[in-house]
């Protein structure tokens, strides 16, 4: 018998009902029991009053009701299969609502699904936020980054509307890890204009861990990690599913997502999921954003068997999308950019269409994952994951004399990942995990594009080992720690222009890499190795019934990515030439996070300041102007500096009554390049969102009004350059302002949800969402399309959710 390790957190909010005549045994207690991590209802939990025969069982929606209670002090006992019982003392003197959040675990499954428990243990102290199933549903036709921006401290770096990358504490790309089903997503995450190739709808909960505390998944993500977890399994015979249908007026499109899961009592389970999305051109308040349509089609499939002591799972998922890029953002040189900047509308506005033309991106990501776990005894178990991911990415530009179906970038990235881990538990207090992680990555860049490779062919190997542990002597104290060591090796084959190779002095620094001269190009075979060390430790303490505090420290080291080392090419949306740098060294980040949380009462909230110092912070900056046949081009090259980032995330919730709630999220980030004494580029300005929600009696409907405010970013580096334009009497220099951030903006969203109850045995809800209802016209500093067009205008979305 395994000693199940779980913690129970009880959030109780008493709401005074109408006082009834005292001494009458007719009080009613009701509420819901939900999962602490993803807010999903826990079915079949028994809630009873100790020493009496009064009890109730939770319904499928997690609700329970206890009637005919006498006033006085009683002890509640909450029980659920495979969990230890939980006791809570409650005094009854009125009708009340009592909601419990349990840390819901099914021991047998904890091993094969990336269990919330496991993660929770690994980073009990690093601040963690999460999106629940309901929030994921709300964003079912949007992207992961869009959904995450509802959490304090997360922004999104965008290219238009459909391409969005999550940004945590001002960091994105390789500095943020995305973990799906327990394995890191490998999808060319380095590019600022690549959105993660993942379908949010395939997951049941999304957790955000600020700081790289989950060393199991890598020690190289100073920004933080995003953990996507699938639906939890129930070890009994059941069949359930959900279908979400969305339609939206902006882009005149919609999405359909449907999933079905079958579980059996002997441990087998099978799960299938499908999502399709299609949108035409989006619109800003005043004009059509031509060529911003998108389509997406995803499927996933899972089959497994789980018994208490061992189990296996096979998982396959496929993600495919095509996204148009604003036509006006495709420019030829900086004079074109200057022209675009002078206009307050895009230079090309065409009638609405569903057609997606160049410039556009096509992505295809496939993932195969095999899991096996076994247990030696009560204390020791091991688990083996094998994962294969293949990511192909094609980018189509406006080209001359080349057939339309020939991409300008055509990359195929294959990644094999093996993760073996050994877990050891000693009673309730101690837990440890030792693991080995090996990765082999092969990038292939198709030469038939007729465009110089942006990212060269390479083989990357990574071998890592970690040891993490936690000690939790009581519910009020938790200590965790971890260390990880990784060796990263690159074996690259790349053609440089001989002139570039010499200009950067590589011919004298790296003569050993030179292989062959081919015309004006030189083939080189750089082999680069890095040894990265990561460590973290943290404590969390329950100060009182109402207050918790936590502190953690994370050291992470990241070796430069493929783009930072080797990129070589022209960017059409900014008219820049980008160069990687072979001389870059690894980046080391020391991050301190602190949090103070008030968990109970009408006023709840958390304040989370953080501070991080990054040595050898890799960034890209303009170096020089290069004279080309298209005129002078700014050359941007990767370089390293020391950076200091600090900030504060804050959340506040106030409950006016059980029907009326106020929520406020705010975050501020301050980032400075210490060597050059300049602010860092693309750092989110102060932003906050405040919402007020009213729920009707019996939760028939609720209405939520949300206001967003984003300040002007006043801290930015001046990276402007000038272009010479021809006038009657000679050449004059004109400044191209690519630095000044856009003005502050506000917008209002309204959500109206209607719970229709059970129709044909399926729980049905209907939601009306009005985004940017006031047609606020604005541009966002973190959108690379801000030079060309406004953000999207009003969008009315109707969503139907059927759960069965």
């Amino acid at each position: 018998m395994i000693k199940s390790f779980f913690k129970i957190t009880v959030l109780v909010f008493f709401l005074k009902g109408i006082p009834l005549c005292s001494q009458n045994c007719d009080f009613i207690l009701s509420g819901t029991i939900k999962d602490l991590h993803d807010g999903s209802p826990i079915y079949g939990a028994v809630i009873r009053i100790e020493g009496s025969d009064v009890f109730a069982q939770t319904q499928e929606n997690g609700s329970y009701i206890l009637k005919a209670l006498c006033p006085g002090s009683v002890v509640f006992l909450i029980e659920h299969a495979e969990c230890n019982s939980v006791r809570k003392k409650v005094s009854i003197n009125a009708n009340a609502t009592l909601n419990f959040e349990l840390e819901h675990h099914i021991n047998a499954l904890e091993e094969i699904i990336i269990s919330d428990n496991q993660l929770k243990v690994l980073n009990g102290n690093a601040k963690e936020s999460r999106l629940n199933a309901d929030q994921i549903t709300r964003f079912s036709n949007q992207s992961l980054a869009d959904a995450l921006t509802t959490l304090a401290g997360v922004s999104s770096l965008k290219t238009g509307n459909a391409i969005a990358k999550p940004m945590i504490h001002g960091m994105y790309g390789s500095r943020v890890g995305i973990i799906a089903n327990g394995i890191r997503l490998r999808d060319q995450e380095w590019g600022p204009d690549h959105a993660p190739n993942i379908d949010l709808n395939a997951f049941q909960s999304v957790q955000l861990v600020k700081g790289a505390a989950a060393l199991k998944y890598g020690g190289d993500t100073p920004g933080g990690i995003i953990v996507l977890s699938p639906h939890k399994l129930i070890l009994r015979d059941s069949l359930f599913g959900q279908t979400i249908i969305n339609t939206a007026t902006n882009g005149w499109g919609g999405s359909l997502t449907s999933k079905l899961m079958k579980t059996t009592s002997n441990g087998y389970y099978v799960n299938g999921q499908l999502t399709a999305k299609r949108f035409g051109d989006l619109s800003s308040p005043e004009y059509v954003l031509s060529n911003t349509g998108m389509k997406e089609m995803n499927i996933s499939f899972k089959l497994g068997r789980s018994k208490i002591s061992k189990g296996w799972e096979l998982n396959y998922s496929r993600f495919q999308n095509e996204t148009g890029i604003l036509r006006s953002a495709h420019i030829g040189n900086i004079q074109d950019l200057l022209r675009a900047l002078k206009e307050d509308k895009p230079l090309r506005i065409e009638p609405f269409t569903y057609r997606i033309n160049a410039p556009k991106q096509q992505g295809l990501h496939q993932n195969i994952h095999l899991i096996y776990f076994n247990q030696f005894n009560d204390e020791l178990k091991w688990k083996l994951d094998y994962n294969y991911q293949v990511n192909s990415r094609k980018e189509f530009d406006i080209r001359r004399g080349v057939p339309l179906d020939v991409p300008a970038i055509d990359l195929r990235l294959q990644t094999h990942n093996v993760l073996g881990s050994l877990q050891w538990k000693k009673g309730f207090n101690w837990e440890m995990e030792l693991g080995i992680n090996a990765l082999l990555q092969d990038n292939y860049s198709d030469p038939n594009t007729g465009v110089k490779r942006l990212i060269p062919d390479y083989i990357k190997t990574q071998l890592g080992s970690y040891l993490v542990g936690s000690y939790k002597p009581s519910n009020s104290f938790h200590w965790d720690w971890g260390v990880r060591l990784d060796h990263v090796g690159w074996d690259v084959q790349k053609y440089y222009n001989i002139s570039d190779w010499k200009k950067r002095n590589y011919n004298s620094i790296f003569p050993q890499f030179e292989v062959d001269n081919v015309g004006t190009q030189i083939l080189v075979n750089p082999t680069v190795n890095f040894l990265n060390f990561a460590a973290q430790t943290g404590i969390s303490i329950e100060l009182s019934e109402q207050f918790n505090t936590s502190f953690s420290y994370v050291l992470s080291q990241r070796s430069p990515n493929a783009s930072e080392l080797f990129s070589d090419g022209l960017h059409h949306s900014l008219a820049t030439i980008e160069f990687g740098s072979l001389t870059l060294d690894k980046e080391s980040s020391n991050k301190f996070l602190f949090s103070l949380t008030k968990t109970q009462g009408k006023l709840k909230g958390a304040i989370e300041p953080y501070f991080s110092k990054i040595n050898n912070y890799i960034f890209i900056a303009p170096k020089a102007l290069q004279q080309t046949i298209r005129g002078a081009f700014p050359v941007w090259q990767y370089d390293a500096t020391d950076a200091l980032l600090w900030g504060v995330d804050a959340v506040l919730a106030y409950e006016f009554s059980d029907r009326l709630n106020l929520d406020i999220n705010a975050s501020y980030t301050h980032a400075q390049d210490m060597k050059n004494e300049l602010p860092l580029i693309n750092i989110p300005p102060f932003n906050s969102s405040q919402s007020i929600q009213y729920s009707s009696p019996k939760k028939r409907f609720d209405i939520k009004v949300m206001h967003h405010f984003t300040a002007t970013q006043n801290r930015f580096p001046d990276l402007n350059f000038s272009v010479t334009t021809l006038q009657e009497d000679g050449l004059i220099e004109q400044e191209v302002d690519v630095s000044t951030p856009p003005s502050a903006y506000q917008k209002v969203d309204v959500f109206f949800s209607l719970y229709l109850g059970n129709i044909n045995k399926s729980k049905t809800s209907l939601r009306f969402m009005f985004y940017n209802i006031t047609q606020s016209k604005y541009r966002d500093y973190l959108n690379r399309m801000r030079f060309y067009a406004d953000e999207i205008g009003r969008n009315v979305q109707v969503q139907l959710v059927l759960s069965y």
């Binding site: 090309r348 050994l422 083989i459």
Partner: protein, 184 residues
Amino acid sequence: MDKTTILYTKNTLLLILLITISSCSKDTPEVVNEEELITTVELNFSTQGEPDQTVRWETEAANSAEIVLKSNTEYDVQITFLDESDPSDIENINAEIIEEADEHQVFYEFSGVSVTYGQGTSDALDSDQNPVYINSIWNTSDANSGVVRVFLIHEPTTKSSTTRDGFGGETDVSVDIPIRIIEE
């Protein structure tokens, strides 16, 4: 703890396997032939009673010799776009431009000198009969010196404009060539 040993052996074997795979080197990648490259702009001037004059703007040098024209004279001007990245296989891009005449426009902008230009005798026309100015007639006026900026515009928003901004589109070529107009 026996099983632990087995586990370690398994893991080690796996790693050895991975390292073996990774040590297999990849095939040498093919060199990419840049397909849309234009490296050279060549301008040829001819007028009666004068020898032809040719100036070339080459990427390698990133400049060009000066154009010297006589004042108040009409010149037949032929522009040629070349890809000379491979000296053994020089490509003339003009044919592509003429074939995609609707998507292309040659445009000249002058500074410091007064030159007007129009359709040449052997110019290419797009489907709306707009001249592409691959071949053009230049008329010079007074003696002076300045710069001519030569543009090749891709997918212009209009084909009939008198300014670079008016054409819109993307700039495929933008080179500055010094020009001097001397007394007849």
